[in-house]
């Protein structure tokens, strides 16, 4: 199939940036979306033009590196997959495809489609862990955990930190990402001990990074490649609410995040 691509080009974080249009020809349906981009870049390099920069690594939907906003949707038209898992059989001959970077203030563009997502790392550093050091821990089977609970924790733990939830949200809120981690750890007996402080600290960091507030539109969960559910946001709010009530660190305000 032959396609027209309208792609966001931006030299660096200072540059204004703008769309440029390219043509690619004879793309087969078995080609993955990123391989289609490879073909474009090969053509560009062969005519001495700067290739389109985009993040990617595993190309199998697990590292969370790829991040393209395709035809107005993070990770493209198909639900439940990442950009690298998208194949060209989802498009048809003659299509025009618009490709942009994630758009959110806390994710500044580095170049073309590459954005800076280190804000997510800083949120994890604020409390997205269980405070245990190496060694001196109990036997793994000492605390039984019902399969139902560990399954639910696993559902939340599947988050790949891609940022599609933020890109999908009109407020650029990172609630789903934060909720996934808070929920994963709060559900497990090992993580439950610190769950309130964790929620409090991670939310505080999220605000500091400039992510918007959550108004419960659910766009995040709908576009999440790992299907992280909104229930986790409800759990985060619960943890956060109790944390706030008992906290000495936080100023008491109304429900900070809307819901």
């Amino acid at each position: 199939m032959d396609l027209t691509l309208k792609i966001w080009r931006q030299k660096n974080s200072q540059d204004y940036g703008g769309f440029k249009t390219y043509e690619v020809k004879d793309i087969t349906p078995d080609t993955s979306f990123l391989e289609m981009m490879d073909i474009l870049n090969d053509n560009l390099e062969k005519s001495n033009d700067d290739p389109v920069h985009f993040d990617h690594d595993c190309r199998e939907g697990i590292c969370g590196m790829c991040s393209m906003f395709i035809n107005g949707r993070p990770h493209g038209p198909q639900q439940g997959i990442t950009t690298c898992q998208l194949h060209m059989r989802s498009f048809k001959d003659g299509d025009m495809i618009t490709i942009e970077p994630w758009r959110a203030k806390p994710f500044p563009v580095i170049k073309d489609l590459v954005v800076d997502r280190t804000a997510f790392d800083r949120i994890i550093q604020a409390g997205g862990f269980i405070s245990v050091g190496t060694g001196g821990v109990p036997d793994a089977n000492e605390i039984p955990i019902p399969a139902r609970v560990s399954n639910e924790a696993m559902d939340a733990a599947q988050c790949i930190g891609c940022g599609a939830c933020v890109a999908a949200c009109k407020n650029a809120s990172a609630m789903l990402f934060v909720a996934a981690k808070v929920s994963h750890l709060a559900l497990l007996p090992q993580g439950e001990v610190e769950s309130k402080e964790r929620a409090e600290q991670m939310v505080e960091q999220m605000d500091e990074e400039g992510f918007g507030s959550c108004t419960n539109t659910g766009a995040c969960s709908a576009e999440c490649p790992k299907g992280i559910s909104l229930e986790h946001i409800a759990r985060l709010n619960r943890e956060y609410y109790f944390a706030k009530q008992s906290s000495e660190n936080l100023p008491v305000e109304d429900e900070v995040h809307g819901s």
């Binding site: 390099e45 001495n48 969370g64 190496t134 060694g135 019902p146 399969a147």
Partner: protein, 640 residues
């Protein structure tokens, strides 16, 4: 050069505890006077960085991705082994040790492998304490499965995302230490050289991938945890950025590279579908528990999966079941891969390229019902459909072997130190534990064993003896390294040739796959060597690297890595040529039994082949680490 593996004295099962007692300790108050560089944030790197920081050392951690959480370990699916014997099925530290030594076809070091098995049990405890949501039974205890042909159930798993969950656990421990100020994290930073001062590793030189800035970092010791080099072959199951550069640069600074020709080809990957293909996707090994592997008895060119359904039983050859009646479809990886190649070489391969065999679930679905199969493999079936467009519930899958893991790597002693004082190598980038073939679910185990439980002890011994003077990055050695890197980059940018980096990388990959891949012969290897040399020359004359150094330039990143792959590829070929035997993943056509199985030569080749760099375009010198087996008896593997 005298190679000393520093294996502690005493009985096998006491070596590690005695050694831990005998090594020198750094006094807690002094630990903060030491800086340690850890390159890589996969399982091996994150676990080491976090554990060392917890002990009180100052750690500088590096990765080329935008976040430590994205290291290639994240992609591991199947699971992690540990000798917990929770299933009471006869597992033990000794059995895991024995299986690993035998699976590696007797080309690894007993003492290291035994320690690996010993600490495997601590890993699971550690991960559970961090919140890794392993699969559990209804009673709430941890679930296990058997994996990779093991006769006991010792594999722990988190759905099909075990690597992800283990890495996120290590990443969370690392994040905690970053927050505590004990780890300084450098993301989107690529290490391009290691720096030696007075013969000791005292730092590294890096390139900031966003600004292009070349920078020096000093330390008292350097740990490389930079992963494997499977991408020499261009197509592999590794992530796109996986590379050999860090290990290779260390090699050029004097670290020995051991057994480079030992690569693992995984039998169940989705076949290549076109020349634009950028990577190969692994389908978990567990599929062979229920899928039956077959090709037509006589060639049926271009046979598709939907046509396969109509091929009668009489016309099918279930070749693994036929040749290996006792193991059938569950033979080890190297055996399964080689047999797929044999039937395809006979012209009986299927699909548009003829380089594929069927993995058929029709019988399993008939026997157990669709729902049961779905509950076991649902996510894999979906993934397969997503990539190929075929529905494996209705038609057989097509699979073909692909490069997956590299057993070779930097030579290390029992302490995981290379022969360069102060330079350590952990995880897939060292050569230590898997011999000539790695068993399933044991790479994750090794990465975490090295990082959580070995290096935190052994590095202290070195530091306690070496003193804590700081090194200045104004030192000549740093300047020189920086300069050489800048020259290298300039050379690539000014080449302005006519072909892309990928063009060259693909050609190199073809040479390696055809001539130094699943089977090798003296003849094919000699051809490979000439072709690699010629192509490498063309590379430096005719590559076209667009853009400048001073901004994000992914073409330049690739160009630097491919430059190193060329040199490593040649060493792989030399090593394969030197090893006149077949063992594990290394199959030399000249050395096979009458039945076509690998023929080892324990008399002459029971050694680790350790190569010493001698300068550009000079042949490398071989040093042998003789392997001494005191606790296992060397036998020919048989899966008939």
């Amino acid at each position: 050069m005298q190679l000393d593996a520093k294996i502690p004295e005493g009985p096998l099962d006491e070596k590690w505890s005695k050694h831990k007692f005998n090594i020198k300790l750094v006094n807690p108050a002094n630990k903060r006077k030491y800086d340690i560089i850890v390159v890589g944030t996969g399982l091996a790197g994150s676990s080491a960085a976090a554990s060392l920081a917890e002990l009180g050392y100052n750690v500088k951690s590096f990765c080329f991705q935008d976040s430590p959480r994205r290291a290639h370990s994240i992609a591991a699916q199947g699971g992690i082994n540990a000798a917990k014997n929770y299933q009471n099925d006869g597992d033990s530290v000794f059995r895991l040790f024995y299986d690993t030594i035998k699976g590696g076809d007797y080309r690894s070091r007993e003492a290291n492998v035994y320690r690996l098995s010993e600490v495997s049990v601590n890993i699971i405890d550690q991960c559970v304490a961090q919140g890794v949501p392993f699969a559990r039974e209804y009673g709430g205890l941890l679930a296990n499965r058997s994996f990779g042909g093991a006769q006991v159930s010792r594999t722990f798993y988190a759905r099909g995302q075990t690597g992800q969950q283990l890495l996120l656990g290590a990443y969370s421990a690392l994040s905690r230490q970053i927050a505590a100020g004990k780890v300084t994290m450098h993301t989107r930073t690529e290490m391009l050289d290691v720096v030696l001062v007075d013969g000791q590793a005292r730092g590294i030189v890096t390139r900031n991938l966003i600004t292009g800035k070349i920078e020096s970092h000093g330390a008292h010791a350097v740990v490389l945890a930079t992963g494997g080099y499977g991408n020499v072959f261009f197509l592999s199951t590794n992530a796109m950025g996986s590379n050999a550069s860090a290990a290779w640069r260390a090699h050029k600074k004097g670290a020995l590279f051991a057994n480079p020709c030992f690569t693992q080809i995984h039998p169940t990957c989705i076949p290549v579908s076109g020349h634009y293909q950028s990577k190969l996707t692994l389908m978990s090994e567990s599929l062979r528990n229920d899928g039956r592997v077959w090709v037509p008895k006589s060639a049926m060119k271009g046979l598709t999966a939907s046509e396969a359904v109509n091929v009668s039983e009489d016309d099918r050859d279930y070749y693994l079941e036929r040749r290996y009646p006792s193991f059938g479809n569950l033979v080890p990886r190297d055996v399964a891969s080689r047999n797929a190649k044999i039937v395809c070489d006979e012209g009986r391969g299927v699909g548009p390229t003829g380089l594929a065999v069927f993995l058929d679930f029709a019988d399993a679905i008939k026997r157990d019902g669709k729902e049961t199969i779905k509950s076991k493999y649902g996510n894999l079936f979906d993934m397969y459909k997503q990539i190929t467009g075929d529905n494996p519930y209705e038609v057989p899958m097509m699979i073909y072997p692909a490069v997956h893991y590299t057993m070779g790597g930097l030579w290390v002693d029992y302490n995981l130190m290379t022969n360069v004082p102060g330079l350590y190598a952990t995880g897939e980038c060292n050569f230590s534990d898997h011999g000539a073939n790695r068993l399933g679910a044991s790479a994750l185990m090794q990465g975490l064993a090295d990082g959580y439980f070995v290096i935190p002890y052994t590095i202290g011994d070195y530091l306690a003896k070496s003193g804590h003077d700081k090194v200045s990055t104004d030192n000549e050695a740093f300047r020189e390294a920086e300069e050489r890197i800048t020259q290298n980059i300039d050379k690539l940018l000014h080449c302005k040739g006519s072909r892309t980096v990928d063009d060259f990388h693909k050609l190199l990959g073809h040479i390696m796959w055809d001539k130094c891949g699943m089977s090798r012969s003296a003849e094919s290897l000699k051809q490979a060597k000439t072709e690699i040399q010629a192509l490498r020359k063309e590379y430096w004359e005719d590559v076209n690297v667009i853009g400048v150094n001073e901004e994000l330039n992914m073409t330049l990143e690739k160009a630097l890595r491919v430059g190193d792959f060329f040199e490593l590829a040649e060493l792989m070929v030399d090593d394969a040529l030197n090893r006149n035997e077949s063992c594990g993943g290394h199959f030399r056509e000249e050395y096979q039994t009458e039945e076509g199985e690998a023929l080892r030569d324990d008399q002459n080749y029971a050694y680790g082949a350790c190569w010493e760099y001698k300068g550009p375009d000079k042949p490398e010198t071989l040093h042998k680490e003789e392997l001494i087996f005191e606790n296992v008896k060397l036998t020919q593997r048989s899966y008939k």
